[in-house]
Amino acid sequence: MIPLMLLLAVGGLMQAARSFTADTSIAGTELAFGYLLLSAYFTAKIFNRLGFPKLTGYLFSGVISGPFVLGLVTKDMGHSLDVVKDTATAIIALEAGSELKLAKIKPVMKTLRAMTVFAVIGAMFAIGGTLFLMRPLLPGIFNGFDTTQSLAICGAIGVALSAQSPAVVMALLAEMRAEGPLSSVVLASVVVADLTVITVFSIALALTGAVIGGNIDVVETALHVGWELIGSMVFGLLIGALMGQFLKTVKKGASLFGLLICVVVAEIGARMSLDPLIVLLTTGIWLRNWSRADSSELFRNFESAQLPVFLVFFALAGAKLDIYTLWAYLLPVGIIAVVRAGSFYVGAKFATKITGAEEVVQKYAWFGLVPQAGLALALALVLRTTFAGSFGDGAAVILLGVVGFNESVAPPILRRILIKTGEAGKKQGVDFAAGGH
């Protein structure tokens, strides 16, 4: 009851303030930050009492506050908070990397490889094929394009739609304090899948542009993809070595140092054509697996401090969800979401079975690939801006619709799976989402 009353009070104050002027250029950023932080926190409290994950509460709070429902947080306000999103992604990548204990993953490496091939790459083909068959339902995307061009477009959208969400998986595992074979495989598989999607998307985008625009420089494309992947990994290793040295020699203030690294990589990495996600993922893996420095304290401390950033990150993701578009495109979106989940199910079941994975992994690992959030949204934005005026806008509608669908539906189901398998609550330590000690 108290969280609800506080939520209404915060919302009421926000609404009153927003009625003062439509100009959000003065103080709009901190107003949106404070409001999203508080509203996401209290909405999550309410959702948690109703049996939903807190993550769903964060997202829901963003949807309701965002420009498509109440309009308390405008698009401009959301844009001004993009650095929160970037930093949160960087922190997630660092932590995801640190969760990947290679010694523990080694036994399931075969499973991961098979899942990537059969579930993730399989899903790209399945979704692309479905889109190709659904062309009459999607005139806004395919009108005026011949078969070859349509195939290229389906490929690009299919790859983007197959993206997973390490952020959601990490947040849920942390919130549920989950640990066990399923949690390990799910986290590792989404991280590996994300790397795969980023790589394939880069290639698919260049190819699509070439097919539609008529030119492609294969060598330059390969060099850029190589720079992004290999360069990011090398930078990640360098940063890992730097952080390791800091942990060994300076020790104090390591968390602040780590945070600054995340901020700098998030903001500068993209400008150097590096992928911050890969950079910090590599850093995390290095620190956890090869560095001689003891990074456990760093990561434990990191977890307790990130709640404000994550609250705003997920609320912002919710605020960007256009529910009207989702409603208008419900049929194609529904079909694609089902095909996507179905291909993960079939691919992952097959992959886990042939590699002899544990029963719990065989049964549920596929669902870890279903949630979507940040990366898929970013790819939707890339498609929309790259092919604006062509198929980009229509593709973004479908992408945002599917992401929104998965964003809303997947976390509660994954939460139930973690509870059902008994992995929830097994992990000790600080939990950023639940805020435990």
Binding site: M5, L6, A9, V10, A17, S19, F20, T21, I26, A27, T29, E30, L31, A32, F33, G34, Y35, L37, L38, Y41, S80, D82, V83, N143, G144, F145, D146, S202, A206, G209, I212, G214, I216, T221, H224, S255, L256, L259, V263, V264, E267, I268, A270, R271, S273, D275, F302, S304, A305, L307, P308, T385, T386, A388, G389, S390, G392, V430, G435, G436
Partner: protein
């Protein structure tokens, strides 16, 4: 993670909100040539026309997703690296060991008042260094608003209103005349010079001139304890010097001045609320109270430190945002909220103070850096006001001390009136006050005031240091012998253990 890191993390993130937005639209340099945009490192092809020659309109040139030029990238890296450097300096500047080193050098007063950080900000804003450019600064406003709100909250939270019941009779008169003296003399002196030298056609009928005079007078009226130890070390209690108590009460004058300025000198033409000016005073008070009650209720919900941190940060960011959005002062609104939150019966007071204390120093120093960056040092007209400002304060103080000694000297215990200093440091809130108003108004008079107050503050601090060297004044101890004990909230963490990270309070040894 230790609380300072958590809280500083928040400040960094908020700072970079602005920077990122600024970088989204970096200044266009004449030699910048657009390069082919890339996505995820892949150069985007430039489609000319549909390959099949169909009627489909050719896709327009790809939007510049990462449409960076080398200069853009260099600019971005320079700005971000520069800001990170400033953050690190702010962190180091508050470190216990650094502060001790300053004390050993005998420059602690000037340093801990934060003036090197003002200079750092001014340097970072120069064309040569070009880190805090106007566009970056403009986008750093959220940090500024948040910092002002934080300071307002921390100042308000340290005002234990139970002390007011126990101060000796005559204290209110003393505060009033010691504030009114510098206020009136500084405002009159500086106002005359502003009229005499003004280039923008200012006259006594100009509302902006009156606003500037009120601002100057208010800034001059506030004093700091003889050694400024930061905003988070101001709670007065038995055993601390009277100057700490009086400076704390002085700051109420500053808050009243701010409420007055933001209510009566508004430009609401382009807004949806058309209210009489006086209504804004009630809105300020009402908003402060509403936010205070809200934060008071909110801090009861969290079940962990992480959640508590989120709620406190969110509450202050929200309050600062609301104040800024309504063109009110974040300092004043958060001050009222802070007073309410910590003066209501509240089991979370210690936790609130712990978070407030830990972020205070970095926020203060970052805020000073921004203050330095918005300061137009080269504006000679402001420097003209500096001696007047300093002299006005001293004369005003002398008048006030004389008046209070004559009128209520017999009523007050020793040290309340007879040991008052004529040259007292300017309150740190004075600079915050001016910067707060600077962020709301952009007319010709404001740069004068900024220079007068920052310059005056530095000059006063140097005078105080000199005076302190010549004759150390014994610090008066508890003068309220018969008063009941009150909570020593500012003794949090004084466990004798040397903590890592910034130092927020360093005078456990007693009054200074």
């Amino acid at each position: 993670m230790r609380a300072p890191v958590r809280t500083l993390a928040f400040a960094v993130v908020l700072a970079l909100c602005g920077v990122t937005t600024a970088l989204a639209d970096p200044p266009t340099l004449p030699w910048q040539q657009p390069q082919q945009p890339t996505i995820a490192g892949v150069p985007l092809p430039a489609p000319d026309k549909p390959a099949d020659g169909s009627a489909t309109p050719a896709p327009p040139a790809p939007a510049q997703v990462h449409s960076t030029t080398k200069e853009d990238t260099f600019f971005a890296i320079k700005v971000i690296a520069g800001l990170v450097g400033l953050v690190v300096l702010a962190y180091l500047g508050g470190h216990r060991r650094v502060v001790r080193f300053q004390e050993q050098l005998g420059i602690g007063g000037v340093i801990t008042a934060g003036f090197p950080f003002v200079a750092l900000g001014a340097l970072a804003a120069t064309d040569t260094i070009g880190v805090l450019t106007p566009s970056v600064l403009d986008q750093l406003r959220p940090v500024l608003h948040f910092g002002l709100g934080w300071l307002g909250f921390i100042i308000g939270a340290q005002l234990d209103i139970r002390v007011l019941d126990r101060v000796p009779k005559g204290t209110a008169y003393l505060i009033l005349v010691e504030a009114l003296g510098p206020f009136a003399i500084t405002a009159a002196g500086c106002g005359a010079v502003m009229i005499a030298f003004n280039e923008a056609g200012m006259s006594f009928g100009d509302a902006a001139l009156w606003r500037d005079l009120v601002l100057l007078g208010t800034a001059a009226a506030m004093t700091a304890p003889r050694k400024f130890r930061g905003f988070a070390n101001r709670t007065w209690h038995e055993g601390r010097g009277v100057d700490v108590l009086l400076s704390q009460l002085d700051e109420i004058v500053g808050v009243i001045g701010l409420v007055f300025i933001t209510a009566y000198f508004r430009d609401d033409a382009a807004t949806n609320w058309q209210l009489p000016d006086t209504a804004w005073i009630f809105i300020s008070l009402g908003l402060g109270v509403a936010i205070g009650v809200l934060i008071f209720a909110m801090v009861r919900v969290p079940v962990s430190n992480a959640e508590f941190l989120a709620v406190v940060l969110g509450g202050i960011a929200f309050a600062s945002g609301l104040a800024g959005y309504l063109r009110l002062s974040p300092i004043a609104i958060c001050f009222i909220a802070g007073v309410l939150v910590t003066n209501f019966p509240n089991e979370q007071r210690e936790s609130i103070f712990r978070i407030l204390h830990h972020l205070e120093r970095p926020v203060h120093l970052l805020f000073l850096i921004i203050a330095g960056a918005v300061w137009d040092v080269a504006d000679w007209r402001g420097w003209l006001l500096v001696p007047l400002f300093v002299a006005g304060r001293i004369i005003g103080k002398w008048t006030g001390v004389l008046a209070s000694k004559t009128a209520v000297g017999a009523l007050l215990p020793a040290s309340f009136a007879d040991q008052r200093q004529l040259v007292t440091p300017l309150s740190g809130l004075s600079i915050a006050l001016v910067i707060s108003v600077e962020s709301l108004y952009h007319d010709n008079g404001i740069p004068w005031i900024v220079t007068a107050v920052i310059g005056g503050s530095i000059a006063t601090e140097l005078l105080v240091s000199r005076k302190g060297d010549e004759a150390a004044v014994p610090a008066p101890m508890d003068e309220l012998e018969r008063s009941a004990p009150i909570d020593e909230l500012d003794d949090l963490g004084s466990d004798g253990v040397e903590h890592d990270g910034p130092i927020y309070r360093d005078d456990e040894a007693g009054p200074t």
